[in-house]
Assembly symmetry: C2
Homo-oligomer: 329 residues x 2
DNA sequence: AAAATTCCATGAAACATTTCACACAACAAG
DNA sequence: CTTGTTGTGTGAAATGTTTCATGGAATTTT
């Protein structure tokens, strides 16, 4: 072994006085005589040997690296997801390659090509391009967006979350509910929140209305809408369900501007379970997405050995967390 | 080329009717006859060829991947940094491998070994283990923590930030200043915020005091301290500088509990420039860290070809942003 | 026009691993 | 004592690149 370079398996083999293949077996948990195993591990320890995962990847095809493709890493929901995925992968001895797309369809496609080139063992994608070309040669799991039965999709139980929000608001005395939605206009699992809201309202015979807008429209139309529904200092609704915590936050400010008190006059429930400073309180009462489970499930499916019968959609249970914008005991 | 497998350079060479080396040159931007270049690119296009960066990494040593090691990905400052680093690297044609440590010294060391094994081209570390063993074989840039002159460290101008906070508070009429600090007790660049605060107060002849606590103590001691400094409904201080936005947020709540109005009775400045929901308003008036520049600078130093004369510490200018907790015009 | 020089495509070797056919030893069965 | 069987270490081949010494063609020089 030359000085200054990293030791190789060959060096370890020589040091331990065993064959190259034996060293390989030891580092791949292939049964080997206990005495041999010891000798190899001792030699490796002494030389400071570490497997070169690029050489391994070249021959074996497996690289122990998984790519996570996200719109961005700063949005707290995405950040929490990235953190969870990274931890989950580490627990399974894998590394995480991260790529951010800025929600740009072309960038998404390019990211996929980029990480594909890097020979990752799989891709977890949180993408918005409905026409995304998903590589057939490499396992892919989608979060929050369903493509087709052949592409496993992991998501929160968005429909159930919509129902849960209605249930909680109704339990707390609300009778006239409003659903507010903002987001991209590519169809995705999160859109089912509205369906759950409507189904639950109908089942309970509650008055309800919905206003669904696109990101491009901004938040102003909500303000206009709310203002036009105030009569005699009272809002026509006593409960509002927003499709994201961020929207709920804006709405809370708008209501304050209109002189309406939350939660006394209007109760408010958001969605996501986003936390202040990443790990502190909630911004509002909210339907919490099981971020840890989303990560865990995605990774499990991605690394599943038997890929012959994978689920096409998995919905994970959401929960309710009070955050001061509802009348909780 | 066998069906179902990825095409290799050899396949491209055969398809294009050129030699293997020629194909390699084309994909490494090594000058090659224009007609050859065309033929190769056409063939690659036709076959859907992509360089196998593991094979490349094996032979060339360069892998086009950089590792980012962070305590976690959900804290908004870290999340913003991760996002910026990822974007900066993408712009330079590199991928980002991310590892989270949970601020555990052992985990930090293990992360380094893990990514080292992955043959990354460099490591950007945001670590807390002062005794961290930094691999000599691989470029390393530290953010916010200075190890020794041989390890380049990139940080905000924390001292200047402390001064700036005092300056802004003084300009807005504050005369009796308080510095509050919470954090780990490993020494790091962020500790200089206090030095800047004190220097600026002395230079201006302002009354001032400081309370520096450890994470373990929690926030309660601050509450006790503040309460004990209220006399006749007035706080002994009219300006508070907190070493993080998060602390400032807590302090804001504590002040409200004490019946003190912000900013009328007490003005408050935080540090970090952390944004609500990752990209919305600030939590408080704050000293903003230049996250984009931190990322850019770190990457530049990391990928610098000539590693003979690297800076040992680079401080980047911070700025002030009003956030409602100060009396700004 | 011949010689010298430049240019540039060529393809074999090297990189660090995994895999697999092989051989050898040990042991059981006939 | 021979034959068959099992178990396990061995080392060559293969993986897809980059690099570099080589040589042939084109161009310049004398």
């Amino acid at each position: 072994m030359k000085r200054g370079t990293m030791p190789t398996m060959k060096d370890v083999a020589k040091e331990a006085g065993v064959a190259l293949g034996t060293v390989s077996k030891v580092f791949n948990d292939i049964p080997v005589g206990e005495d041999y195993r010891r000798r190899v591990l001792d030699a490796a320890q002494k030389l400071g040997y570490q497997v070169n995962s690029y050489a391994r990847g070249l021959k074996a095809g497996k690289t122990g690296t998984v790519a996570l493709i996200l719109p961005n890493a700063y949005d707290p929901y995405f950040a929490a997801l990235a953190d969870s995925v990274c931890q989950t992968l580490a627990r399974r001895g894998c590394r995480m390659l991260m790529a951010v797309t800025g929600s740009d369809p072309d960038a998404e496609q390019q990211c996929i090509r980029m990480v594909e080139q890097n020979k990752v063992d799989g891709i977890i994608g949180l993408t918005y391009n409905p026409a995304l070309e998903i590589p057939a040669s490499i396992p892919f799991v989608s979060i929050d967006r369903y493509f087709n039965p052949a592409v496993p999709c992991v998501a929160s139980d968005n429909f159930g979350g919509g129902q849960l929000a209605v249930e909680k608001l109704a339990e707390r005395g609300c009778r006239r509910l409003l659903f507010l939605r903002i987001g991209a206009d590519v169809p995705g699992e999160p859109d089912k929140r509205m369906g759950g809201f409507q189904a639950a309202c109908q089942a309970r015979g509650l008055e309800h209305e919905a206003l669904a807008l696109n990101d491009r429209d901004g938040y102003e139309p909500f303000r206009v809408f709310l203002r036009s529904h105030v009569e005699g200092g009272r809002l026509s609704y006593d409960g509002i369900f927003c499709n994201t915590d961020r929207l709920a936050f804006y709405v809370q400010n708008m209501l304050a501007e209109l002189g309406l008190r939350v939660p006394e006059d209007v109760q408010l429930v958001g969605f996501d379970g986003v936390r202040r400073f990443g790990n502190d309180g909630y911004y509002c009462s909210t339907i919490v997405q099981p971020v840890g489970q989303l990560a865990e499930t995605s990774v499990n499916i991605l690394l599943e050995e038997d890929r012959s019968a994978l689920p096409s959609l998995i919905c994970l249970p959401v929960s309710y967390a009070p955050g001061g914008t509802t009348l909780d005991g």
